[in-house]
Amino acid sequence: MEALFSILIGLFFAAAVYLMLSKFLVRILLGVAILGNAVNLLLFTTGRIVREVPPIIPADLDRQMAVTANPLPQALILTAIVISFSFFAFLLVLSYRAFQDLRTDNANEMRVAEPEADGAPPTGY
């Protein structure tokens, strides 16, 4: 099961990297979204995938009698999902704003902060 997941995660990463290498912001955004999900799956797989019971201890026992699923990766993923989702939302708004203000979503044409005709500094008075 882990091997299957590893291949899936590899595909996710490949797609994410391919999209992020694009010069168009929308594609980079899609890449970021896929990258976030790839990482979440990776975190999930590191906790080992088992078909076991959830880690809940019955009321009349004080310890778990069977092998349980690992709850920690799920807590980690929950945190990571919330964070990556909020960042995706921010980047989406930022990209839209950049498109409105700069009239382009092509990162190569965004030269406002680093103008191409920026000359060398003066060499004398």
Partner: protein, 516 residues
């Protein structure tokens, strides 16, 4: 099924309340979050915002000072969250390195808060400059004080989202452009960090740094730790703007308000360096040794290309962006060399760079206002208008290029000497060459913007404002005092490096009964 024998909960749970002094460990973060929330509620009240924020930052400085004193006296301190003992619970562990960084960060933030009182206009305050500043400080302090690596990731994200807010404050076209590059690349860097954390958890089944330190030392042979260490180097190198993953920094750092650039230059890249030192020196010392040539090559390239980039710029703020990068190279060189000299030098240089780069950006803001332009083609006549401010600037220019008797000199000596001691003379040469190139870059700013007579058409306010001079004087005083009397900081930095290289005190503070 009958209940099994009773479990001894004292092995997993905190049974007694934490001593009062241990609360100091989390107070800087809690204080920043709380005061940030209060400032957010009073956002519309633009008049009292600066006063409240400066008061809050003063308290933060006091808390960090107390924490530093406490840690310097009694060694590393640990506080755990939610009654769970490590490695189950999230631990905040502070050693001398973390406390020193947190203290200097508080100094920077206070200077920035005072400088911002005039630099940020009413609309900037209404859009939440001060709340963002406090939340940024919460993230930065959290990153310096936490002892749990997933927690470190979370604090990275806290400071990242606050820095996005600060970066787009004002929303000029230039800022939007810079913010796009900054936001995307930094998010990818933190995602890389998260990937590395995921693998780390997969290998060790724990996220507590002290626990990982012990387990990595025990099980080094049968785990792919080199892959992991390289991933961490890439992620933190990107955060710290090391060559070749540094081009987001000169693309974005000159676009926001000057005080925001100053805070970023002082705080954010240094968090990356701190995390690199923490992970590579404390968690993976053997892997650092193996990667040291790669690190040294990256360090030399960062230094030289940063300094050359600075020479090629005609905008003062963009020039400073490249100086931030070349400074990162020196710290990276210290990490690459390792040992007490190298790591101590890297820590010392990081603390020096926090103070000096912040002050330099503030200087650039004031200079731009006096000279009428940030462009070296058009600015001039600052020395003729205000000699005192020019003197302050000159101190900072000399300090950033590593001239004695200012604070940049000592860490460079430490790093260069440590490099020569292990035979890496070329690395020491790169450090010295960087100092020379930096001198050329800042010397050009001095001759053109300060010495050259002003153009007749330039209209500008001639005198720097008090709110700009007070923090500048404070920071210049720090760099002069550290330069003239380096002994105190030097001994602290050396013992901090020793604690990182031999983390038994750190581990002992997290696991007083030994690792189970």
């Amino acid at each position: 099924m009958a209940a099994s024998s009773a479990i001894d909960l004292s092995q997993a749970l905190v049974m007694s309340s934490a001593p009062l002094a241990d609360w100091l460990v989390v107070l800087p973060v809690v204080w920043c979050l709380a005061s940030g929330a209060v400032l957010l509620m009073l956002r519309k009240n633009v008049r009292i915002q600066p006063w409240l924020a400066i008061a809050a930052l003063l308290v933060l400085l006091g808390l960090d000072g107390l924490l530093l004193w406490h840690v310097a006296q009694g060694g590393p301190v640990t506080m755990v969250m939610g009654r769970w003992l490590p490695p189950f619970g999230i631990a905040f562990t502070v050693d001398l390195t973390g406390a020193l960084f947190a203290f200097f960060a508080a100094v920077i933030a206070l200077a920035g808060g005072v400088f911002a009182a005039e630099d940020i206009d009413a609309s900037g305050r209404r859009y939440g400059f001060y709340p963002f500043l406090m939340l940024l400080m919460a993230g930065v302090s959290g990153a310096f004080l936490t002892g749990d690596i997933f927690n470190l990731y979370v604090w990275f994200e806290v400071l990242l989202i606050s820095s996005f807010g600060l970066l787009v404050l004002g929303s000029e076209r230039k800022q939007i452009d810079g913010a796009v590059k900054y936001a995307f690349l930094n998010l990818i860097a933190t995602t890389l960090f998260l990937i590395a954390v995921g693998y780390l958890y997969g290998l060790f089944g724990t996220l507590n740094m002290a626990d990982i330190t012990v387990k990595a030392a025990e099980r080094r042979g049968d785990l792919p730790l080199m892959t992991l260490a390289s991933l961490f180097v890439l992620a933190f190198g990107m955060k710290a703007a090391a060559f070749p993953v540094n081009f987001w920094l000169p693309a974005s750092y000159h676009t926001p308000r000057v005080v925001v650039s100053a805070l970023f230059a002082g705080l954010l890249t240094k968090v990356g360096i701190y995390a690199l030192v923490r992970v590579m020196v404390m968690l993976f010392p053997v892997e650092r040794e193996e990667l040291s040539f790669m690190l040294a090559a990256a360090a030399a390239a960062t230094m030289i290309f940063g300094a050359l980039g600075a020479i090629g710029q005609s905008d003062i703020r963009r020039l400073l962006g490249y100086l931030v990068i070349s400074g990162i190279g020196v710290m990276l060189a210290g990490v690459a060399v390792g040992g007490p000299g190298g790591v101590g030098g890297a820590l010392f240089y990081a603390l020096h760079s926090m103070v000096v780069m912040t002050a330099l950006y503030m200087t650039a803001g004031v200079a731009g206002r006096i000279a009428g332009s940030f462009d070296l083609h058009r600015s001039g006549g600052i020395y003729g208008r205000t000699a005192f401010f020019s003197a302050l600037s000159l101190v900072l220019f000399l300090s950033v290029s590593g001239m004695p008797p200012f604070s940049g000199f000592w860490p460079k000596v430490m790093v260069a000497k440590a490099a020569i001691d292990i035979g890496a003379w070329w690395l020491a040469g790169a450090v010295l060459l960087t100092g020379f190139l930096t001198m050329i870059a800042v010397g050009r700013v001095w001759t053109l913007a300060y010495w050259r007579p002003a153009e007749a058409s330039a209209v500008a306010d001639a005198v720097p404002r008090t709110s700009a001079l007070v923090p500048l004087c404070l920071l210049v005083l720090v760099t002069v005092l550290v330069g003239l009397f380096p002994d105190t900081l030097l001994s602290q930095v050396q013992s901090a490096a020793a604690l990182l290289l031999e983390p038994s005190a750190y581990v002992g503070s997290v696991f007083p009964q030994g690792v189970r």
